[in-house]
């Protein structure tokens, strides 16, 4: 894995700049798939003004590195970049960024989705939403487990 492939940070990021950096100086990349996750203004029928993301320093980075290494085993990838923010984030803020570079779009799309599916079920982050009724920890969704599980069949 190239150095700097994973960042866990408070600061915002520039998706375009990150995607450009991934392919700078390369001529073997034919496709870059990117994903940006944002703070939505509603969850399960409740208004959300902001959220605070907590994580497990050390384990978070290790879990993300393992997920990226798994993706690199499955697909021929020429670059991967993962950024996940923590701390207090307001509605509309960027939370997470995944970019995958490959020779062809199939691997890039698939690896990007794979990384997000496993990030959601394996990386130790927790969201606490600020709603008009007070703070509320977000419940894990079964759909996220299902999304990660379907990759086992495709292996």
């Amino acid at each position: 894995m190239t150095p700097g492939a994973i960042s866990v940070q408070r600061e915002d990021f520039d998706p375009g700049r990150e995607a450009d950096a991934l392919i700078a100086g390369r001529r073997d990349v034919g496709a870059v798939a990117t994903f940006v996750g944002l703070v939505r203004d509603a969850n399960e029928g409740c208004g959300v003004d902001a959220m605070t993301l907590e994580h497990y320093p050390g384990m978070t980075e290790a879990a993300l590195e393992e997920i990226v290494a798994d993706a690199q085993q499955r697909w021929p990838l020429q670059g991967v970049r993962v950024i996940h923010r923590y701390g207090r984030l307001e509605t509309g803020a960027r939370i997470v960024f995944v970019a995958v570079a490959s020779a062809h779009r199939g691997a890039a799309f698939a690896a990007c989705e794979f990384i997000m599916d496993f990030l959601k079920t394996r990386a130790p982050f927790w969201k606490k939403e600020e709603t008009p009724d007070g703070g509320r920890w977000v419940d894990a969704r079964e759909a996220d487990d299902d999304a990660a599980a379907r990759w086992q069949k495709k292996a």
């Binding site: 384990m59 879990a63 959601k120 079920t121 920890w137």
Partner: protein, 84 residues
Amino acid sequence: MQVKILYFAGLREALGCAGETVELPVGVGNVGELRAFLSARGDSWQTPLSRGNLRFAVNQRMAGPESAIGPGDEVAFFPPVTGG
């Protein structure tokens, strides 16, 4: 033996504790036994730690109730993750 224990998110709030170093008695050798040992402190520990969906990590790797723990290990208890 001594282990470092960390609690995260809603569990940390329910326990009012982010982490501690604990001297374990003989007979506490895995995550499930550690959970039972901590639960025996009383209701304020037993109730949060009895949640069925609780997750565990040993030395920053996902673990299960049967995962062994040794001297100096870092054990974490937390709810299912919700990042992304």
